[in-house]
Amino acid sequence: MNNILKELQKDLLHLPRTHPKRRAVAIPAMQALQAELGYLDDAAIEKIAQITGLSTTEAEELATFYSLIYRRPAGRHTVRICDSVCCSMRGADQLLTAAEEYIRTPLGTVTPDGALTVLPGICLGLCDKAPAALVDGEALGPLNDASLKALLQRLQQKD
């Protein structure tokens, strides 16, 4: 368990069961745990419930709402390609198709080597770099078929 989680757990230890803070830290706790695990499996949801004092169902209600909380396995590197209006006008749809063909794994799943998850995402706030992508949280764009392939290749080789 990483330090952020330990801190949170310590903070909550003596708070009453219904203290509002228990809910308020649920998302930060999930983000911290996901940073460690890559995604939240059922055991991770149980862990979150244990730390916050929420029930597993309450934790799941939150976890399943958000697009950046992954309840399915993710690769060591995630590439979110924006498919919203500006990027789409500038070729995002073709990029996504190209990426899927290149990694030969459906979007949103993990490549067999565990290296990559490529998935479409909503507007990343990178419309001035369209078509853009967020690669492990880092903004990239504009991309084209060639630069995307090079990127994916590089990521696959990195660990």
Binding site: P20, Y66, S67, R80, G91
Partner: protein, 426 residues
């Protein structure tokens, strides 16, 4: 006009506290602490600073309506969730200069006598959020945050909340739920969040761009600020231009600058000098405007009069090689996907619209589909629970009007007039 809000932004190496102070940063605290909170609100009101988050609500009025006697604790939320397609101005502010944000929150919170402020940062901007946290720590260490700031007797604590990621989290009340750790569905706005917001306490939400104007208004006065605008607009405005233009980007210009100047001067005109088909003036949830609107000042009231909304001031440009049906379909997919699922018209109506548009775009639309779309949009726009769905159908309703011939053509010929080649790769 000289850049005001973006002057000291540096996305590569944002100014640290000392460097920021060297540019005159945090000077507004002195002006603010010398004034009574009501006085500051009065100045902001006189400056006619309108909200930059989309709705354009007058900031000073919002602050005043909260009431000076609102019970403690009082909260201020700085909305940095920016997820409106076409909008990226807040990203520049976050990555380029976190101290500017902190300064503006301190003086705004002082005006509101709020003892706790939250900055709700878009999840995708996590890196910027980290830098912001560091800046908050710097400010804390320097005594700019905490108790009795600079001997003013004013206490303030700022926390950055990193969103789990969803467009609806930008909506004021959904954001309050998100911060509380509840499912971010919007709340009914009676009682208003200004009196019953975070944990039932008085809460004021402002877009980050709105807030960063406040220090300048305090330092230079309301009149000065109003005069920054042109064509009747007030103040400086961050405009985003993207889509089929040569140089997409962020441009700080006087509020009221017409779209023509933005698109053709600052963004360098359209790709391959194509003809302009139309544009969204304020982000994805605004109505399309046509070339004939190019000279309408990009300001709240004139754009509203032209039938759209200034929104976030983010222009998305369509050229004549772009199929407007396809673009509208993309927008509707976005909204259907991001609906929080709380109310029926939004949750089930938007996928319905998307489905009809899909059939039209793929050539199997029917003649009466266009009337059906209009009919459904009327209910969705007027009867949804929050402002998400009305915003969502705005581009569709306007698109049906502005580009009627294109729709007709799809339905009658069963084909898209823009062949694949025209759809333009990257």
């Amino acid at each position: 006009m000289e850049a005001l809000l973006t002057r000291h932004l540096d996305p590569v190496a944002p100014l640290n506290l000392v460097a920021y102070q060297a540019t005159g940063g945090y000077r507004s605290l002195t002006s603010a602490f010398d004034l009574k909170p009501e006085k500051i609100i009065g100045i902001v009101e006189a400056a006619n600073l309108r909200g930059r988050g989309g709705a354009g609500f007058p900031c000073g009025l919002k602050w005043r309506l909260r009431g000076a006697d609102a019970p403690s604790p009082r909260y201020l939320i700085c909305n940095l969730d920016e997820s409106e397609p076409g909008t990226f101005k807040d990203r520049y502010l976050l990555y380029g200069g976190p101290h500017q944000i902190i300064e503006s929150i301190i003086v705004s919170a002082f005006a509101l006598q709020a003892e706790r402020a939250f900055i709700f940062v878009r999840g995708e901007y996590a890196k910027g959020g980290n830098a912001l946290n560091q800046a908050i720590q710097e400010a804390e260490t320097a005594g700019l945050l905490g108790t009795n700031i600079r001997g003013s007797g004013f206490n303030l604590q700022i926390e950055a909340h990193l969103s789990g990621g969803r467009y609806i989290c930008g909506e004021e009340t959904a954001q309050i739920n998100a911060i509380e750790g509840k499912r971010p569905n919007p709340r009914h706005k009676i009682p208003r969040p200004s009196t019953h917001g975070l944990w039932g306490q008085p809460t004021t939400t402002n877009n980050v761009e709105t807030l960063i104007n406040v220090p300048h208004i305090l330092l230079n006065g309301a009149d000065w600020f109003r005069e920054l605008g042109v064509n009747g607009g007030c103040g400086s405005k961050l405009f985003c231009v993207s889509g089929k233009v040569k140089h997409s980007g962020l441009f700080e210009l006087p509020c009221g600058t017409p779209a023509r100047e933005l698109i053709f001067e600052h963004a360098g005109g359209l790709d391959e000098n194509r003809a302009l088909l139309g544009f969204l003036p304020g982000g994805a949830s605004t109505a399309f405007l046509l070339p004939k609107h190019l000279d309408v000042p990009m300001d709240f009231d004139p754009i509203a009069k032209a039938g759209s909304r200034l929104g976030t001031g983010s222009i998305i440009v369509l050229d004549d090689a772009t199929c407007p049906v396809e673009v509208t379909l993309n927008l509707m997919r976005f909204f259907a996907r991001e609906s929080c699922g709380f109310c029926t018209p939004c949750r089930d109506g938007l996928p319905y619209l998307t489905q009809i548009l899909t059939t039209i775009s793929s050539g199997s639309g029917r003649a009466d589909d266009l009337a059906l779309l209009d009919e459904l949009c009327a209910t969705i726009a007027s009867q949804s629970f929050c402002a998400f769905a009305p915003g969502a159908v705005m581009p569709l309703v306007s698109s049906l009007k502005c580009f009627h011939d294109h729709y007709e053509h799809h339905v009658t010929t069963g084909r898209c007039p823009f062949n694949e080649a025209n759809k333009n790769g990257a």
